[in-house]
Amino acid sequence: MSTQTQDILPGAYKEGFHDDIRPLHKVAKGASHEVIDYMCDVKGEPDWMRQFRHRSLDLFRKSELPEWLPGLRDIDFDAITYYASPIEKSARKWEDVPEDIRRTYDKLGIAKEEQKLLGGLGAQIDSEMAYHNIQESLSKQGVVFLSCDEGMKQYPDLFREYFAKAIPPEDNKFAALNSAFWSGGSFVYIPKGVKCDVPLSVYFRINAEQFGQFERTLIICDDDSFCHYVEGCSAPVYTTHSVHAAVVEIFVKERARCRYTTIQNWSTDVYNLVTKRAFVYGKGIMEWVDGNLGSKRTVKYPSCYLVGDGAHGEVLSLASADKGMWQDAGAKMVFMAPNCTARINSKSISGHGGRSSYRGLVQVRDNAPNGRVQVNCDALILDDKSRTDTYPTMEVDGDLATVEHEASVSNVSEEQLFYLQSRGIKKEDAVSMIVNGFIEPIVKELPMEFAVEINRLINLQMEGSVG
């Protein structure tokens, strides 16, 4: 149990410790078909999944990185461990979680939250879910909240009907990688008409070094249902790189509503390459609330495929790029049915040499009349070592859509600072107030505890940025 390289982010990244947890299963480094066979044997997976994984690995090897996505060539995929599990099976009771793992989560303050505000809690360490539990009142209504592996075992037909249907392994290189080595993540099913008022929460932790975490989440919100899914993540600070390549597939059926909140706070040696996609059916509502505060490089564009009449998609994106980070975040809205609406609201802050990029796509297909979409991107840049980019693309077929995009980049203005200082507020506090005011529209959409945490993290990143 030790913390190392504290000097990278002095005091700021309190999740940067790592614990010595002995893995029960750990495979040789590198992406190989042997690793897949080993995983399938350990997990006792059906044949179709074994074949699916092998096929995905072939796709991963064949596919190229897209030309528009620079800066990923230095990932050494052979130096990474693709499966490591410190546990035998996911526990239902917190006491049943192995003690050393429990200690890690206690330090992160995860268990305490469950009693307070959550309808269900999951906790993943490296490849496997250490804990997964749901309130009895919810499970009685038929709400399913399991690790993805358990979901496949307990609901094989439902699982297979939706699995990889929103994001097939052919979609992109990292989706293929995830499809080959996926492990852990959540399987959520909300039955027709059930409103799951309290959030379901999952915490992802990478503990091993040079590790690849490939969790896979599948959420199905049946007609007229509601659910709020919250995920958080962190990792120790090492000097080597880890890869987190998750796939999240969501199906929002008719008139259902799903909100998916992410607070990503990986350490600055994690490549965070995530594919998130929701299919939204008639009058359904999908909301992504996406906070990116950590990682070395994040590549993540939560997307909504609006496939039913009157579907609505929404992305609220908040990125804060500090020293050593490149937040390449954004959103994607694809209009495939009539009368759909969407909104993208993105805010980014770059400081201490960090870089944040908004990359977005709005696509209105031929058969999608009366679509309406509004995109707003605001960027705040704190010093001249930092960088901010905006790369939106809008592709519109036909004459029946209304598409609007607006973006602005600015600094903390002297005028605003002067005003606050003339009211007796210290300069540092004034900057912090301005920044917090800038991100407020997104933070206010977060659950209270997360909002507090975001403000704390932003303030830490802001330290020393006045000069």
Binding site: P392, E395, D399
Partner: protein, 404 residues
């Protein structure tokens, strides 16, 4: 077919430095692959109708220059075709030609232009000379030959001011050999300290021309350029329009208007490159799209490190009049300074019901109301044209398309 023989025939008798430049450009052209739909910038375009192997190298474009009377231009103004410029003002031309559009820039058709340009014009306005009457260049694409590569070089010396009007029209004679024409042009502009260029340029080619055009201006300290670009003809056009802000206090105001119909394909790629701080650039490109037109706008604002005090704006608005139109817009920001203000906006929309209703309620027919609104949509760009005659040309061109 265009080959290195085309190049050899062209260069004989030219100064060595120019031959060298053409050689480099030719090598660049040969080295680069043809763009395909797998390239992001080209994915919306269909270039199959451009048969490169049937294109003949001979130049089909002629230039006609209209200069203000000598007493209006004053001493030292040079306004002549490129051949004359190279013979009579070789040293001056050498100082600027190919210095902005480098022969090794990796753009296939612009490299072809740099290798094979034949016709063209040179405008040189000496220090502190201010000319109010516009200089006009008409580039006419005609005859049976199928390629044209005109080059325009503009130098506005410190404190000078001028207006340049550039028109590109015509196309290969229909049915001459059934081949679409290839037009690749380049315009290099240097506006020196406190100089000012008013630049108006439009193309109204026949719809059997593939046009690849690069226009680039370098704006020095306290200098200013205002652009109005009109894009009306051609079956395909790719316009690259770039301003490079090289000196503090520089301004660039870029306005563009496009009207694409039938199966026309328009690509517009703009760049506002702030290499120095305390510079201003402003851009507004408006397009009307009808029938099965395809339009792809991509605009970049690039602010380099230490370009503090940059103020940049970029707006692309598209009015779509048919359900077969394909319209992409991609406004891009890349910012590495922190003391600046940078915004952009893009819209794709149709005529607003409410505005139509208002005009109908005032007694206008639906057709009249529609025509009025389309012309009103483009007016903010046209209003920037300071030459009355050219304003009228733009207006009537647009009007004829609107009431078609």
């Amino acid at each position: 077919m265009i080959s290195s023989q085309t190049l050899d025939a062209l260069t004989s008798g030219e100064p060595a430095w120019l031959q060298q430049q053409r050689q480099t450009a030719w090598q660049t052209y040969e080295k680069l692959p043809l763009p395909t739909r797998r390239d992001l910038e080209w994915q919306r375009f269909d270039l199959r109708a451009l048969k490169l192997d049937k294109i003949t190298g001979a130049s089909a474009v002629t230039e006609t220059l209209t200069s203000p009377a000598a007493e209006q231009t004053g001493q030292g103004v040079i306004f002549c075709d490129m051949a004359t410029a190279i013979t009579k003002h070789g040293d001056l031309v050498k100082e600027y030609l190919g210095k902005s559009i480098a022969p090794d820039e990796p753009r296939k058709f612009n490299a072809l232009h740099a290798a094979l340009w034949k016709t063209g014009a040179f405008l040189y306005v000496p220090r502190d000379v201010r000319v109010t009457v516009p200089f006009e260049i008409l580039y006419q694409f005609a005859g049976n030959a199928t390629a044209g590569f005109p080059h325009t070089l503009v130098v506005v010396e410190p404190g000078a001011e001028a207006t340049l009007v550039q028109k590109f029209v015509g196309g290969p004679t229909p049915g001459s050999n059934g081949t679409a024409g290839l037009h690749a042009s380049g315009t290099e502009v240097f506006v020196k300290e406190a100089g000012h260029l008013h630049y108006i340029s439009y193309q109204n080619f026949d719809e059997n021309v593939f046009d690849f055009t690069l226009k680039r201006a370098h704006v020095a300290r306290d200098a200013e350029i205002d652009w109005v670009i009109g894009m009306f003809g051609a079956s395909f056009q790719r316009y690259d329009i770039e301003c490079i802000m090289d000196g503090e206090g520089g301004n660039s105001f870029m306005y563009g208007v496009g009207f694409a119909e039938h199966k026309q394909q328009f690509g517009q790629f703009t760049k506002q490159h702030h290499r120095t701080g305390n510079t201003v650039s402003d851009l507004l490109f408006k397009n009307v799209l009808r029938d099965s037109a395809v339009s792809n706008y991509a605009g970049m604002i690039k602010v380099e490190k230490n370009a503090n005090g940059t103020n940049a704006y970029q707006s692309n608005k598209n009015l779509v009049l048919s359900n077969k139109v394909k319209c992409d817009t991609k406004p891009i920001l890349e910012i590495e300074s922190n003391q600046l203000r940078c915004t952009h906006g893009a819209t794709v929309g149709r005529l607003e019901e409410q505005q139509m209703f208002y005009l109908r309620s005032r007694g206008l027919h639906e057709k009249q109301a529609r025509e009025l609104l389309i012309e009103a949509f483009l007016e903010p760009v046209l209003a920037r044209i300071q030459v009355e005659k050219v304003y009228k040309e733009f207006s009537s061109l647009i009007h004829n398309k609107v009431v078609r």
